[in-house]
């Protein structure tokens, strides 16, 4: 309860302003760099432009939706609900659920970060969220089909199962070693204060 108030009181305005300036500075430097490089090297610039455009389209479609989902979860889903299914006491059920949630193909990894933030804020266990993000990153059905096609079923299956086991063990270790007292994500992106 107090965390939110504290985060609001601790000179929030200044730190956010500083960060926003950084973002825009980098972006404003990158745009001319990109344009110059693409114009100077048309052969390499072609694919660069194409890929950037494809990602831009994907972002334009998916990202607003993901943030709306984050907002809705943040407003509607009860903390007790998340704690029960993904919290410290959720055990093996929490692990399985995190895997399933992470395996839903919904786009690139950066899309998952805001969702991870809202789940953590609602009391999900750190280890489960790391599992969620790892599954999101490397266990996707469309990707597995490609892997199967190019690298064979044996490689795909062994990699899949090894990843499963290693991620579960290491995320538990990270949760216990670094986040013993639990964890609340910063209020910068998931800001619930009503100003």
């Amino acid at each position: 309860m107090n965390e939110k108030a504290d985060a609001g009181a601790n000179g929030k305005k200044r730190s956010i302003r500083e960060r926003i300036r950084w973002d825009y500075t980098i972006l404003l430097l990158l745009i001319p760099t990109f344009v110059v490089l693409v114009l100077l090297f048309p052969q390499k610039g072609g694919p660069a432009r194409h890929v950037a455009w494809e990602y831009f389209k994907e972002m334009a479609y998916v990202l607003p939706a993901v943030f709306i989902i984050m907002g809705l979860v943040s407003v509607w889903v009860e903390r007790e609900f998340i704690v029960k299914f993904l919290g410290e006491e959720s055990g093996i059920k929490g692990v399985i659920l995190s895997f399933i949630l992470g395996s839903i193909p919904m786009g690139p990894l950066y899309v998952a970060f805001p969702l991870a933030a809202v789940l953590l804020k609602k009391g999900a266990k750190v280890a489960n969220i790391i599992i969620f993000l790892s599954a999101w990153a490397c266990i996707k059905l469309p990707a597995e089909l490609m892997e199967f096609q190019f690298l064979g079923w044996k490689f795909t299956l062994v990699r899949y199962l090894t990843t499963l086991v290693v991620v579960v063990i290491l995320s538990e270790v990270i949760g216990r070693v670094f986040f013993k007292e639990g964890f609340t994500p910063p209020a910068e992106v998931l800001d619930e204060t009503g100003d």
């Binding site: 956010i16 973002d23 825009y24 980098i26 972006l27 990158l30 760099t33 990109f34 490089l37 090297f41 610039g45 072609g46 660069a48 194409h50 890929v51 950037a52 831009f56 972002m59 479609y61 998916v62 990202l63 607003p64 939706a65 943030f67 709306i68 984050m70 907002g71 809705l72 943040s74 407003v75 786009g107 950066y110 970060f113 805001p114 991870a116 790391i130 990153a137 490397c138 469309p142 990707a143 490609m146 892997e147 190019f150 690298l151 490689f155 062994v158 990699r159 090894t162 990843t163 290693v166 290491l170 995320s171 990270i174 986040f179 964890f183 910063p186 910068e188 998931l190 800001d191 619930e192």
Partner: protein, 161 residues
């Protein structure tokens, strides 16, 4: 627009609709949270899109395949996992690339390490991850993924000869 995108948009639309019917005030609050988060993350994401474009345009797949493919053994695994962590490559390019790395003689271990860090460790995404989840979480997760990549590579190397 692919199928996934359409499903996400429909799901979001339906949830939003239900939310409005149930409680207009809460929905406005949700949209305000969504808007603020989106605006705060937008410049970083645009920057990352440009960087990803430049990487794919200017770091040729052939160069990656040669660099990893030439080095076998532990050095190969180290180079593969580092390159995988730094680069960002869409899956459609990544798996054919992994295949050519394998064909060039890099070995199963290096190939597995490359795929794992490529998907799980995102140096390009690190600024966004730090913003949304904090520095400690982001660093811990990426470090874990890096270690996981090496472990996974070794296990795969032991199982598949």
């Amino acid at each position: 627009m692919d199928l996934t995108t359409i499903v996400i948009l429909i799901l979001t639309g339906v949830s939003l609709f239900i939310s409005v019917i149930k409680d207009r005030k809460k929905t406005v609050a949700a949209l305000r949270i969504a808007y603020k988060g989106f605006i705060r993350l937008l410049p970083s994401i645009l920057a990352i899109i440009l960087v990803v474009g430049l990487i794919i345009g200017f770091v040729p797949a052939k160069w990656i395949a040669r660099t990893i493919g030439r080095n076998s053994g532990a050095l190969g695994v180290a180079i593969a996992s580092l390159l995988g962590a730094v680069l960002f490559i869409p899956v459609i390019i990544a798996f054919p690339l992994a295949k050519s790395i394998l064909d060039m003689g890099a070995g199963i271990m290096a190939t597995a390490a490359f795929i794992t860090t490529l998907t799980m460790v995102g140096f390009v995404f690190l600024p966004i991850e730090i913003k949304t989840l904090g520095k400690k979480f982001a660093v811990a997760r990426n470090a874990l993924s890096f270690i996981a990549a090496v472990v996974i590579a070794v296990v795969i190397g032991l199982i598949i000869k």
